[in-house]
């Protein structure tokens, strides 16, 4: 292990984020408890315990030999899938999601550990010299690797984590997956929202005129014209089916969340309650914030799930625009740093794993803060390293420790 090659700055930023998270958990959980702060009944006390466990996990990971992670990627993937399957039998339901094992009074969420493990499995499969993401065969197997946990987790009622696994498509794209998938994906998402907002006839007519415009612009290139016609056909078909999907496959509470985010529906009591309360917390924070332990919304525990998914609203209320911007800055700096070091990585296995690390953190960051700020529909997903929760913290620590381990071996030869 080469101590000098370790990405110390990332570790420092991460420690800082965890510490900030701890302070805000303390604040969020401050009022409604009579037990001592360090009691294990208290979120703060528990989180301290999880942090200690995470530190131990971090060092443990560093002690393993580099090759260990590649070797055991497949077997740990299989174990991880088994643990997800086991939830159907032994799982415990918490707020709608059957995602937990109850062991010794602690809830363990296997999907949190499935994220780094799936990343390992993907890295192993895609770094194999037989694999080429441009071939249908490799595409099929790599899609299968993420599709199995996606289906299991979706069936267990955890759409947030499902989305995280879907985001592995970004990694595929990074290593050469033809752009048609991403184009279709982005096109579908955009059309989905547009179709809910506007009339489907209007969308189809605009697709038609847009493709006509593009075709007349590129008169000579027969290939592009063919492409454009294909895209417009697929998008039109998708638009027509969105109506059906939205009204028949989605359930009412899903529809409500979409409608609230898109401003089609106002509701401050029911589904929109969380978002509205968190908006109030941000507004009362102002520029400098109300100060540590002074946030009135936080004190009154009005924002539901404030120490877990809505932790960022505590930051907004108590530390203001300044504090919240700092947190955003730290996260983006950390992600930029990891992605920059990933580009420099020569070992494909390590490179793909680093891409996965950025993707997973980014998806959490995007959905969580987007949701708390009311930009994204309400989807329960924690803020990495920041939100309260043992499985979440340990899962991310595992991801990060393996990244640090692989990154520190950057120049070592095979």
């Amino acid at each position: 292990m080469n101590i000098k090659k370790i990405d110390w700055l990332s570790i420092v930023i991460l420690c800082f984020l965890i510490l900030l998270g701890l302070i805000n958990i303390y604040s969020s959980a401050h009022t409604n408890l009579l037990d001592s702060m360090f009691s294990l009944k208290h979120p703060f006390g528990k989180q301290c315990l999880f942090i200690i466990a995470s530190i131990i996990l971090f060092f443990l990971v560093q002690l393993f030999p580099f090759k260990f992670f590649e070797k055991f990627a497949s077997i740990s993937y299989v174990l991880s899938i088994i643990s997800l399957l086991g939830l159907f039998v032994f799982g415990k339901s918490i707020s709608g999601a059957t995602a937990w094992y109850q062991i010794f009074g602690f809830g363990i969420q296997p999907s949190e550990f499935a994220k780094p493990i799936t990343a390992l499995a993907l890295a192993k499969y895609l770094s194999d010299f037989n694999s080429n993401i441009k071939t249908i065969k490799t595409q099929f197997y790599s899609f299968l690797i993420i599709l199995i946990p996606i289906i299991l987790i979706f069936l267990q009622g955890d759409p947030g984590t499902t989305l995280v696994f879907l985001s592995f498509f970004l990694v595929f794209y990074k290593i050469g997956l033809p752009s048609i998938y991403l184009n279709l994906f982005i096109g579908f998402i955009g059309l989905f929202f547009l179709t809910i907002l506007f009339n489907k006839q209007i969308i189809i007519i605009s697709i038609f005129f847009l493709s006509l415009l593009l075709i007349s612009y590129m008169k000579r290139k027969k290939k592009s014209i063919k492409k454009i016609i294909m895209y417009s056909f697929v998008f039109s078909a998708f638009t027509l089916s969105v109506d059906f999907i939205f009204n028949n496959i989605f359930e009412q509470h899903h529809r409500d969340r979409f409608n609230i985010v898109m401003g089609l529906q106002e509701d401050n009591r029911g589904v929109g309650y969380n978002t509205n309360q968190s908006r109030i917390a941000f507004a009362s924070g102002g520029f400098f914030g109300e100060g540590f332990l002074e946030g009135s919304q936080t004190k009154g525990s009005f924002v539901p799930e404030q120490h877990t998914d809505y932790i960022f609203s505590t930051v907004g209320e108590e530390w203001g625009f300044l504090g919240a911007s700092l947190v955003i800055f730290l996260f983006s700096y950390l992600m930029l740093r990891i992605s920059k070091r990933a580009e420099l990585q020569r070992n494909l296995f390590s490179k793909i794993f680093a891409y996965s690390t950025v993707t997973i953190i980014f998806t959490h960051f995007f959905i969580n803060i987007g949701m708390v700020l009311g930009l994204v529909p309400t989807i329960g997903i924690p803020l990495p390293f920041f939100s309260y929760g043992g499985s979440n913290l340990l899962g991310f620590t595992l991801l990060f420790s393996i990244y640090i381990k692989l990154d520190s071996q950057r120049t070592s030869k095979w």
């Binding site: 009022t31 102002g286 919304q297 009154g300 907004g316 919240a324 955003i328 987007g370 930009l375």
Partner: protein, 620 residues
């Protein structure tokens, strides 16, 4: 593109988030004001609603406390139902029913479990209430009306409705607002402004202290007491005269425009519209379609003014120099005002009327003639009638007067546009509108307009807008009520008309209105009227009308009396007006026989006639 994928995603997302933070934390913070914060509880401090006094400082309206037992279903714990029912004096089944009802209303919001608990019951409940979690007592205050009439003047208060909450940001659900009458017109002054205290609250609704040490708190500004222009004695005396009659008596002090009494009959007890049975009582009052107690005949009722309007036409003709007081017009049981069109009059054949005689004989021929001449003085009937309307309007007729009571009707004074609509292409002339000359036809006035007209004649040419409030917390009232509004008629002409009105009492149609020692002047009126029952237009007995003032010189009281279906003015309206004047000026009644005759007079049979029998006789 692929190499830059992560930096682009990360940086653009971060910029988006910081911009969004900027928007929600620093720019768009108004829609999440303090008041919307769930963590802050507002508690209002209400000033006690202002008292209402009459012009002689008799207290008319005060407040009385009452207690509501409130329930918050989510805080309910197991209770000893037998004891609880005993102290509340209710059955167990009612207890369960009421708890279910409150749960249906809201699980977390408080609602009234038992309202309007008496003081003695409150004492018993208060003592034991600590045992019953989820219940608490709220002290409230409601109006207490110390008189059992004048409900049309005072109005009432009740909880604001959703529309008012939306319309006016001051009010919140459950608060009280003035409805009708003075309670509505002077709502702002009577209620004062509530103060507010903010408390920090946790999600269990527990108050944990003042929010930010109370820097946002405000104290209430006190309510104002109001002194009415109404004379309680005169008002209640008027009520007693109106027993078993429908109609209105309006008395005004001419030189100030202060309304001394505004009697609407049938009246009702204002206390009916407060308290537990409010809505039941309101429906009963509303369902009385014959008496219509909620309809203010004095302010809202629009009727033809009848012969009382002849005075206005006389004044206009004098002003327009069409006649002078010596002009004589011959009457032969009426006259032909147009080819083959005859207007009847009760003057004998060959009666020669001058202005004075025409007024006290109420000669139709005379006034129809001078009206026609006034109109025909102008090149065409349209210009004539518009000019005539200008004069009439200066008396405050044909429009809301602008008094300080929220209800009213404009009445109707027709103009050329009005007739052009009915007779297109200008196919009408002065003779077409001849009924206006004697106060029938298209003209409609409200009793308060007639009272104001009387005050204007008493003042010889000006009036102050009639009003009900004399002072607000000892501050004087607005200028609108203190400026003199002059008519378009020169004051010298009034004396001639008043002389005629004096003779109405002395030797004319209203000799029963004479009061010993006081010079009364007045004019009777009789108005034809119709009703529609089941789509059939039926003529009813004429309305009995009288306007007058006293004393003739230096008038103290001007009065308009309107008795629905009372037949001619002399029968009911004139003696009632005269008794009111005597009561007000002499403080006691010498003519007991007249008083008894009026108080015992009963017109109920007359009012029920059209509903009992389709073939009924009128004007008996």
């Amino acid at each position: 593109m692929k190499n830059k994928l992560f930096p682009i995603l990360i940086i653009s997302t971060s910029i988006l988030f910081v911009l969004r933070l900027f928007w929600v934390q620093l720019i768009n913070i108004n829609d999440v004001q303090l008041s919307n914060k769930n963590s802050v509880q507002r508690i209002y401090n209400y000033p006690e609603r202002g008292y209402i006094f009459d012009r002689n400082n008799n207290l008319l309206v005060e407040n009385k406390p009452y207690y509501d037992l409130m329930i918050i279903p989510k805080d309910l714990k197991e209770i000893d139902t037998i004891e609880f029912c005993k102290i509340l004096k209710i059955e167990k089944s009612i207890l369960i029913e009421k708890i279910d009802k409150s749960k249906k209303f809201s699980y977390i919001k408080p609602s009234a479990f038992l309202s309007q608990i008496s003081k003695s019951d409150y004492a018993i409940i208060q003592e034991k209430l600590w045992k019953y979690k989820g219940f608490y007592i709220q002290r409230k205050s409601n109006r207490n009306y110390l008189l059992n009439s004048a409900s049309n003047i005072l109005g009432y208060i009740s909880e604001v409705n959703d529309y008012e909450i939306k319309d006016n940001s001051y009010y919140e659900s459950g608060e009280l607002i003035g409805r009708q009458g003075v309670e509505k017109a002077y709502e702002k002054q009577l209620r004062g402004t509530k103060g507010v205290s903010y408390y920090q609250k946790d999600k269990f609704n527990r108050i944990t202290g003042l929010y930010k040490e109370g820097i946002y708190d405000t104290i209430f500004s006190p309510a104002n007491d109001i002194t009415l222009t109404i004379d309680l004695n005169l008002q209640t005396y008027g009520d007693s005269l109106m027993i078993n009659k429908f109609g209105s008596i309006i008395a005004i002090e001419p030189n100030s425009g202060e309304i001394l009494s505004l009697i609407n009959a049938p009246t009702f007890d204002p206390n009916l519209l407060i308290g537990r049975d409010r809505s039941k009582n309101y429906i009963n009052l509303k369902n009385d379609t014959i008496g219509k107690p909620l309809f203010d005949r004095g302010l809202q009722g629009q009727y033809p003014p009848g012969s009382t309007f002849k005075l206005v036409n006389a004044l206009i003709a004098l002003q327009e120099n069409v006649i002078n007081e010596k002009t004589i017009i011959l009457c032969n049981l009426g006259h032909y005002y147009s080819k083959n069109r005859f207007m009847k009059c009760h003057c004998e054949i060959g009666t020669r009327n001058n202005l004075n005689k025409a007024i006290y004989n109420s000669c139709n021929t005379y006034f129809a003639n001078i009206y026609k001449q006034t109109i025909e003085k102008f090149p065409n009937a349209g210009a004539g009638i518009d000019h005539w309307k200008e004069h009439v309007s200066s008396f405050g007729l044909g429009n809301y007067l602008g008094y300080d009571h929220p209800t009213g009707s404009p009445g109707l004074i027709p103009d050329s546009k009005y007739y052009n609509k009915w007779y297109p292409n200008g196919k009408w002339k002065a003779a077409t509108t001849i009924s206006n000359g004697i106060g029938q036809g298209e003209i409609l006035t409200t009793p308060i307009q007639l009272a104001n007209l009387t005050a204007t004649i008493a003042n010889r040419g000006w009036f102050k807008t009639p009003h009900l409030v004399k002072a607000i917390s000892n501050n004087s009232i607005t200028k609108d009520f203190t400026i003199k509004r002059h008519t378009t008629i020169d004051s010298i002409h009034y004396e001639k008309v008043i002389q005629g009105m004096f003779n109405v009492i002395e030797k004319g149609s209203a000799q029963n209105a004479k009061i010993k020692g006081i010079n009364v002047v007045g004019k009777t009126g009789t108005a034809e009227n119709f009703i529609k029952i089941n789509g059939k237009r039926l003529q009813l007995t004429d309305h009995s009308i009288f306007i007058g003032f006293a004393p003739k010189n230096n008038p103290k009281i001007a009065i308009a009396v309107f008795i629905e279906n009372g037949y001619w003015g002399t029968r009911w309206a004139a003696p009632i007006a005269s008794l009111m004047m005597e009561k007000y000026l002499n403080k006691k009644i010498n003519r007991k026989y007249l008083e008894n005759y009026i108080i015992n007079g009963n017109l109920m049979e007359e009012y029920l006639k059209p509903y009992l029998n389709s073939n009924f006789k009128i004007n008996e």
